[in-house]
Amino acid sequence: MPEINEQAEAQTSGGGTTTAATGGKKHIIVDPITRIEGHLRIEAVIDENNKIVDAWSSSTMFRGIETILKGRDPRDCGLMAMRICGVCTGTHYQRSIEAVEDAFGITIPKNARIVRNLIQGSLYLHDHLVHFYHLHALDFVDVVAATKADPAKTAEEAAKWAHVAGVEPYIGSAGDFKMIQDRIVKFVKEGRLGIFGNGYWGNPHYKLTPEQNLIGVAHYLKALDIQREMSKMHAIFGGKSPHPQSIVVGGVTCVQDIKNPARIALFKELLTLSRDFVKRAYLPDIYMAGTMYADEATDGSATFHASDHKGAMGKAVGGTGGGILSYMSYGDFRLDDTGFYNSELLFPSGLVLDGDISKVHEVDPNKITEDVTHSWYKGSGAPEHPYDGTTIPEYTGLEKKEDGYAYLKTDEKYSWIKSPLYDGKKVEVGPLARMVVGYVKGDKRIKKYVDNFLTRANLPITVLFSTVGRTAARAIETELMSDVMLEWVDELAANAASGDLSTWTEFDFDTVAADTKGMGLAEAPRGSLGHWVKIKDGKVTNYQAVVPSTWNAGPRGPNGEVGAYEAAVIGTVVADPQQPLEIIRTVHSFDPCIACAVHVVDTKGKELATYKVDPTCAF
């Protein structure tokens, strides 16, 4: 159960909105949010009808990696920047290298471009699959309820959803389901549930039937195997996973793996096997969950209403977990060799604002700023562009109350995450944003996959603007990726066979690194990721990263603009205030990576030690 403060308390939210101090309201703290990367806390206020009326997202960890990058050789930053996150491992690495390549004016050879796409593509497959099954599924799938399933009916159910997807089920026989069920039964009977312990089993907002739960559990276990195969793909050209090592400024180092047809064949074999699971287990499961939760996903009364929140941009469309309904994609996956910002892209760039799916706006990097009104940093007064970010940490702590719990000071500063804005607006990033932007932009490939999904599921496009929609978009993207990667492996094989083995573009470091700056704007599995670097005399003079979870998990903006997590949680009705199931389900649908989000500080070394510490919090 979450911590609940039963007394009616005058909690003031950020940005001028207030929660009335009337009786019946409860203040919930969920900390730690588990099954994510990093350290995240959500606080929420629920009214007498168990509806969430306000929410705050806070990160409780700070490491200061950008500070560490300053003064180093720009060629060494990638490996260090990668350690921002071990889950979307390799993404920060590549973005950092691309920022430096942009600064140096380097275009990498064809082999390097394809190999990088394959490394990133493997990561997308791995990351999305692990996210759905191992970090998110337990918000939909009741492990204990699976023990009551009828194995024969489970097999029928599995076939039904596979057929919706137009495939045969990955696990199809009653006998197989029986075996898995026996295993679970034994597991549950014997008491200690290990990582499944103390879950919210039995909560009425678990909506799957026992048979559907058993399918979910069976795939959860199988996916543990498949993700290992996917990580092998990552390692073939990356050297190891997590934290690959083969990308360098100018190209890649794995020339002998490109040269060797056996390596490419192994990659293709693993990809084929992974793709099979995506199509025959992952997608059918999404059709199943999407259908079972469709009522919530289209329930307009449970969505975030703009009028309740000053300065916010949401409109009352979409369903539970919809949130701010503004989406951004920087675009990614270069499809030709015309240069980083010239190439045609697999995922197009653009913005769709305020739930208006009739038009796309182009992304202008100059309009990206970060604000610290509600973040534990001392800002310069106005939101700042990443190239010149001058942030000085100022930790004001939590407020320890008589009940023994520590609360966020939500009308002041309350998170280590900054609040990024695009042209003064909050936007959501991630697979849903990429699919929405691509769709609205009329991208043929994306449209084909999204339409195929909606037609088969027999659901309207508005279903996407919800918690479930966010989860579905990630699956659609995974399927698309698993198909397009097959084309890329063949492209690589053909290119290598033609005799082109070049993997690195030469440059004269002293010349190009004299005085320059660059940015690597592209997409990580969780959304738009930008690294900005300034270089002088061969050393980094300033480094900033604005990462996907900063966009999504950031606190209120300067005028009370509500963050994406916060908005998505608001409006949801919780079945049992003691069990924050609905809150974590929605937060998980974003796939939080919080160590990422708290990357960022631009200070001068040990000055950090002089931060003001609120004495009431010095416990």
Partner: protein
Amino acid sequence: MGMDKQESVKKLFTAQSAKVDTNRGDAYYEALYAKCQERLDALKKLTPLNNRRDFMTTIEDEGLERRDFLKWASATTAMLMLPASFTPLVAEAATLMNRVPVIWIELSDCAGNSEALLRSDGPKIDEIILDIISLEFHETLQAASGHQAEKQMEEAMEHFKGKYLLFVEGAVPLGMDGQFGTIGAKGETFVDHLHRAAEGAAAVVAVGSCATYGGIPAAAPNPTDAVGVMDVVKGKPIINIPACPANPSNMVGVILHFVLTGSIPELDSLLRPKFAFGYRIHDNCERRAHFDAGEYVEEWGDEGAKNNFCLYKMGCKGPMTFNNCSIIRYNEGVNWPIGVGRGCIGCSEPDFWDKYAYERPMANANIKAPTGGVEKTVDQFGLGLLTAAGIGIGIHAAASAIAGKKEHEKEEA
């Protein structure tokens, strides 16, 4: 560099692998064998501490043959630097792993080690890691959040007091009274969280370079005053499994060793298990012949790169680094950083971000000093580290045992 220094560097880089014999004699192994057997018998008598099913059934469900399992057991025996006669004991210990409760906490981390654990291949046993060891608390994987998660951990600490292994991932930020990281509804600082969790642990395993030596958060200028677990936890057995992230085989190895003997494995001066960190990358490197022949990659993607030449000139720190990557590699042996043509960045050594992680050889690199301040060249930074880590801890015997086993496997296949 002075002439002496140059000579000693040359020596270190060119030394053939040291042939210190790990064989400690029959009497020692007989006593150890008896001790292990006693320990396993005692463990068998315990009622299971958790719910788990029979290990062999799990293995068979996964489509693994008993023969595969025994193969794995014999490879693991060699990895643990034990004589082949211990193989049945290792196999038995694996079946008893479910008696070891593990609490895994995350501090200033990137979850890379948790991700590595997910990719564990043991004998293709990622399920077994989740199913078989009793993983009582693991933020990245567990179902419960918030108070339920905290309660789960408290119960486990109480129930398994004095028996659980505490795995710690991530550095401990000490700056600003520890408030750079907090966890739980009460806003407990990471350092307090660590102390509380370590209190009832049988032993503390620091996994990954952040937990062992501070890692990336502790890289200069160390903005949060981050340190490793061994700088904070006192009076408990501590095992360091560095690397960025740690190799999951080494995590499993430590657990197995604990099950087998009831004690922690033999450690080097940096508290690393010798079975894993008694190897120098350079001594077991597949490109070593090219090093000895003076054939180097001079530029990324050049002819040398296409022919797998030595990566020393591109910054490979294999000569300074102790780890078993060159033997067990990563992701089921699919590849490793030297295999992929990049070279080793010394990620299992203290302060490697400041000392080793760049694409130039040490001798002509100007690198950022670990303590800030002016830049120095290699010879001013401790080559002492090499000696401290103890070159030539019996690698030869174990390495050849494994090589022998590989041959054997080939014949069988």
